[in-house]
Assembly symmetry: C2
Homo-oligomer: 226 residues x 2
Amino acid sequence: MPEAVIQTYTRADEAFDCLQTAIVKGDLAPGEKIGEVELCSRFNLTRGPLREALGRLESRGLLVRRPHAGVKVVSVSTDELMELYRIREVMEGLAARQAAERMTDDEITALHTTLDAHEAMIEQAHGQAYYQAEGDYDFHHRIATGSRNAKLAQMLLGDLYYMVRMYRYRLSTASGRPHMALGEHRRIVEAIAQRDGELAEFLMKRHINAARRNIERKIAEGGLTI
Amino acid sequence: MPEAVIQTYTRADEAFDCLQTAIVKGDLAPGEKIGEVELCSRFNLTRGPLREALGRLESRGLLVRRPHAGVKVVSVSTDELMELYRIREVMEGLAARQAAERMTDDEITALHTTLDAHEAMIEQAHGQAYYQAEGDYDFHHRIATGSRNAKLAQMLLGDLYYMVRMYRYRLSTASGRPHMALGEHRRIVEAIAQRDGELAEFLMKRHINAARRNIERKIAEGGLTI
DNA sequence: CAGGCATATTTTGTCAACAATAGTGACTTT
DNA sequence: AAAGTCACTATTGTTGACAAAATATGCCTG
């Protein structure tokens, strides 16, 4: 047994998770001003733990608080979304490089099978963008973890991904280029399997850069409004 | 008037600042287990705001909390410190590139004068490592802000720098290579002034990489113990 | 004498009432 | 009539008391 420690789940954690998913899923719209008492009744919580959760969410940048004036969900402009992708580019590039150097063989095998599953899902649920988005998240999640860089994984998984996902739900994976993305994923995994960190970094950066430009183009075309 | 909004300072903010500086300065030693009531009496606070601040600090990675078991200051191994520098390398590289593209001429002038002040301080307080550390922080702070990438600045200034500074206080700027660092800083500013983003990124990455290797070497020599 | 179990204590997690502040509306004044 | 000011209300910030949980201690048993 690797982990028998059952992290007791406190009400503040519950509040945190509820709010985070509510924000990511869009149940709480960006810019929406929300009262504490309303949130309490909505999630069956009391104000103590709620405030604790609000503090955490604020320091993660998912919502902004003005003293005595209430909290509101952060609203990210398209420019800011592009900046997020630029950060992802360099950080995930680093993650891919370190993953190539440090992942175990078992983890790499798991990466391969993950991609196979994604391919099957794309063939089958042809056009179901939601699965594609989740699959993409799964892939990047594994690489962040595989980097064996705790802080890097924390920043990617705990900060950036939530903000990006917040928009992916709304755009419902605007990228909409499942096959292309899958091919890029395959090449990245190949580089990792060959323990070629430099190549993995390069491919990952290019992959995220392509995703960013794709979204940028779609927004410019007016097909998407944030 | 650009900013007439007086951010009212709440008790939770006070608690947050107190704890953060206490951790960074080393008044609260890493690994030290601290009780909530003790902290309250120490900083003249009550438990409500304190707990809010603890939540924020936890999500920033400065302390770890185990439910019902108390909080303790995070203790970072040398390996983890090196990982922090690797993250800094790519993120500050990006910051330098974007700063070169976006900083105003006034900001660049300010950067120059900042470096002049650092040089004077180094000459004068010859060996006073503390000023060097603060000067270094000032330099990197300006570039992070100048990147015009809000999230990037937040992650650097709000997360990474505090963790690194936490160790700089303890090592009392182990780097101890003030003149060399100043020269590197000058070259980075030159690249920014010439709006050469690519070069600025390259120089910044090399600068941080050199700092990392320097610390790594000193630790390996046994001169420093964390 | 050592190990495990039960109890007791300390510490954290939670709650509900109180105080302070910002936003809002009406009123007065120019 | 418009603008500024004052008071009010609703919401947030804070406090202290209560409940639950984990660690530590001491006792009992093998």
